[in-house]
């Protein structure tokens, strides 16, 4: 029995070391100075600011979190000390991660996933002197802002690219979960497609996972086998792009530029530029003008954009995209301006009106031209 006890202890030790290396906050600097004195009006010196990021994914995921991490790198370039915790699950562990970062002296905290919302709110209440930012949520407080990008503007542009490229007039869309954020993207994309190619349809396939390379690729192949010649995606990996390349079709990425994953089929990708927000927000702290807000910006603020078009795009695409970009930026064109019809042909947004931010934020139906169910 002694021997098996020894083995158990060894096993437990192994487990501990394995966990220790995993999702913990990276300790770049272990000094725990008390930096929580507030100087709301006078601003702060950059060297007094220490920013902590709580990430849902890994900083090298070629997707969502990597796009956020560009913000951290931009802040470090400004001479601001940053810590981060990666692969934080959307449960009580995220609260622990936030507290860990504050313990290590962070006085600005950003949490980058919707599921961190309530934990961020809770900790923000306890630390009134620490400034918080929560991505994609809707709860704010005196020391808690929310931030997100108007991705639908870039999605609309990527729709134009796809609409001009498709010859089969069948476009596929590999989508993660039937939630408003994804549905909004699919609708904006489809409206973009139809603005240049009214005959084209967009067929949606749900994977019910944000992150599973094998499933995402299988879903992409499934939709390519149905005869789609261009696919777009709302997932966290590059698997759909690789599937498109293998099948000789074309693809549109998401989040980060990933031309290298599928050089022969990559057209473009709608991108987030989170660094725009992070730099702006921290600059406000330095200037002493920071106050809680709901930041929701698009092309105008440079928060979202379309990746540089590749040579795989159809002729004339660049001109069409440039024209639409300009119109969106000067307010002439709104992707969700009427008339917009739903899948059954009912008029949802009458001519001359535009959906309100609230309606856009809570979208749960598909526009005409989308094949598939918005319920997943």
């Amino acid at each position: 029995m002694k021997k098996s006890l020894f083995a158990l202890i060894m096993a437990a030790m192994m487990a501990l070391t394995a966990c220790g290396g995993g999702g913990e906050a990276t300790n770049e600097n272990t000094e725990t100075t008390e930096t929580t004195e507030t100087t709301e009006t006078a601003g702060m010196k950059p060297e007094d600011i220490k920013v902590g990021f709580v990430y849902i994914g890994k900083i090298n995921d070629e997707g969502y979190t990597q796009a956020h991490d560009k913000g951290r790198l931009a802040l470090e370039e400004m001479g601001i000390e940053c810590l981060y915790a990666e692969e934080v699950p959307e449960n009580a562990d995220s609260e622990k991660a936030i507290r860990d970062l504050i313990d290590q002296g962070c006085n600005v905290i950003y949490t980058n996933s919707f599921g961190f919302m309530d934990y961020t709110v809770k900790v923000a209440e306890e630390f009134p002197d620490v400034k918080f930012g929560h991505c994609s949520g809707y709860k704010t407080a005196e020391n808690l802002s929310t931030y997100f990008g108007k991705m639908y503007e870039a999605r609309y542009l990527s729709g134009i690219v796809a609409g001009m490229k498709t010859e089969a007039n069948k476009i596929g869309y590999v989508a993660a979960m039937p939630i408003p954020e994804v549905i909004r993207g699919i609708n904006a994309f489809t409206l973009g497609v139809q603005s240049v190619n009214p005959d084209a349809t967009v067929e949606v396939i749900w994977t019910n996972t944000w992150y599973d390379p094998a499933i995402e690729k299988q879903a992409a192949i499934e939709i390519l086998n149905k005869g789609c010649d261009v696919i777009a995606q709302h997932q966290d990996t590059t698997a759909p792009q690789i599937a498109a390349q293998e099948k000789g079709a074309f693809c549109i990425g998401y989040n980060s530029p990933t031309a290298s994953a599928a050089p022969e089929s990559y057209l473009t990708a709608p991108l987030f530029h989170w660094e725009k927000f992070y730099v702006d927000d921290v600059q406000r702290i330095i200037d002493g003008t920071w106050e809680s807000r709901s930041y929701w910006e698009g092309l105008n603020a440079g928060m979202v954009s379309l990746d540089a078009l590749t040579e795989n795009c159809a002729e004339g695409t660049q001109e069409a995209v440039d024209a639409a970009t300009e119109k969106i930026m000067n307010g002439e064109l709104h992707p969700f301006a009427g008339p917009i019809y739903d899948q059954d042909g009912n008029e949802k947004v009458p001519e001359g009106t535009t959906m309100t931010d609230d309606e856009i934020w809570n979208m749960s139906w598909f526009v005409k031209g989308v094949i598939g169910s918005a319920q997943g």
Binding site: A18, E62, Y211, Q218, A219, T238, I242
Partner: protein, 317 residues
């Protein structure tokens, strides 16, 4: 698109989606056949996937990459074997720890691997190539003969494992050890040796299975690339009642079920649509049903190895 072609394409993808699971299931069968329940399959797959990809990136040699992946899986199995065979540690705990360890290890190896594309040599070595004539066979032609060599290798390995277990004296001894190690020991079989060989070869197969994802199917490094496939393999061992040939069927069935889920997404019968969540559940539900079924019927060849999960103490004979 006509029905036949769409069926052929569907089966082709199903076989691909089943390949890594098949390798892992075979590995787990070998391990369980000597009486050791190894829940570390997921960990060994990830270790293999990461090291295989690492080797492919740094050497550009596809076969070396597969070998490295297998050896890494075998190394994971070695840790497990030392703890469970020599120290007689709890197999469940050790297996779980191996999974946690393997996940962390793969994350570490993969740290700088994301965003790197594999060498053209590696990609083309494993690309799907149609075998003339055979790939023209209706229905199963594309599934079996227009595939990556990796997919076909999995089938061959399954048959080899079957022959090994059922037609050779080594296989007989292996099963003997799994059923009753004390009796095997008494009849002069080196129990420890048999356990080690089978556990290590099992680990090798798990590693190779993981590398299928990182080298062929995805083929790019993504963190946690197996996304739970190792657990499916553990369930499939029961589903296939420890029979390597049924494992082929089981693994491909699992691959197919996913595809069926995608196919049914936009199908509606009246007001009733298919819920993707329920379809995702089906494979696991099937495993539970099989488990209930075999324990109820108690047909000898379908039962788990008698000493599965129990450490063997020679002194307690």
């Amino acid at each position: 698109m006509d029905f036949l072609l769409s069926l052929e394409l569907f089966l082709q993808v199903a076989a691909q989606m089943g390949t890594h699971i098949l390798f892992a299931t075979l590995g787990a069968i070998l391990c369980e056949k000597v009486g050791n329940l190894n829940l570390g399959v997921e960990g060994m797959m990830l270790m293999g996937a990461s090291v295989g990809f690492y080797t492919a990136v740094h050497t550009g040699n596809p076969y070396l990459a597969v070998l490295a992946a297998g050896l890494m899986g075998a190394f994971g199995a070695l840790i497990y074997a030392v703890i469970t065979v020599n120290f007689r540690g709890n197999q469940v705990v050790t297996g779980l720890v191996l999974t946690i360890f393997g996940t962390g290890f793969a994350g570490m190896v993969g740290r700088n691997l994301s965003g790197i594309a594999l060498d053209e040599k590696v990609i083309s070595a494993f690309a799907a190539k149609p075998i003339p004539v055979l790939s023209e066979i209706p229905v199963i032609g594309k599934m079996l003969f227009e595939q990556s060599i990796y997919v076909q290798a999995a089938l061959i390995v399954a048959i080899l494992v079957y022959i090994y277990l059922n037609k050779t004296s080594f296989g007989l001894n292996t099963r003997f050890v799994g059923e009753n190690p004390a009796a095997a020991d008494a009849s002069g079989i080196n129990v420890t040796k048999y356990k080690y060989i089978n556990i290590l070869v099992g680990g090798f197969l798990c590693g190779v299975g993981g590398a299928f994802l990182s080298l062929v199917y995805v083929p790019r490094w993504q963190d946690n690339i197996t996304a739970g496939a190792g657990w499916i393999a553990v369930a499939l061992v029961i589903f296939s009642t420890w029979n390597p040939l049924r494992a082929i069927f089981g693994a491909y069935l699992f691959g197919m079920l996913r595809g069926v889920g995608f196919k049914l997404q936009n199908v509606k019968i009246g007001n009733f649509g298919f819920s993707a969540q329920i379809l995702d559940m089906l494979p696991y539900l099937a495993t539970i049903i099989v488990l209930v079924f075999i324990t109820k019927r108690k047909k000898k060849e379908n039962l788990p190895p008698e000493s599965l999960g129990n450490p063997y103490f020679r002194e307690e004979r």
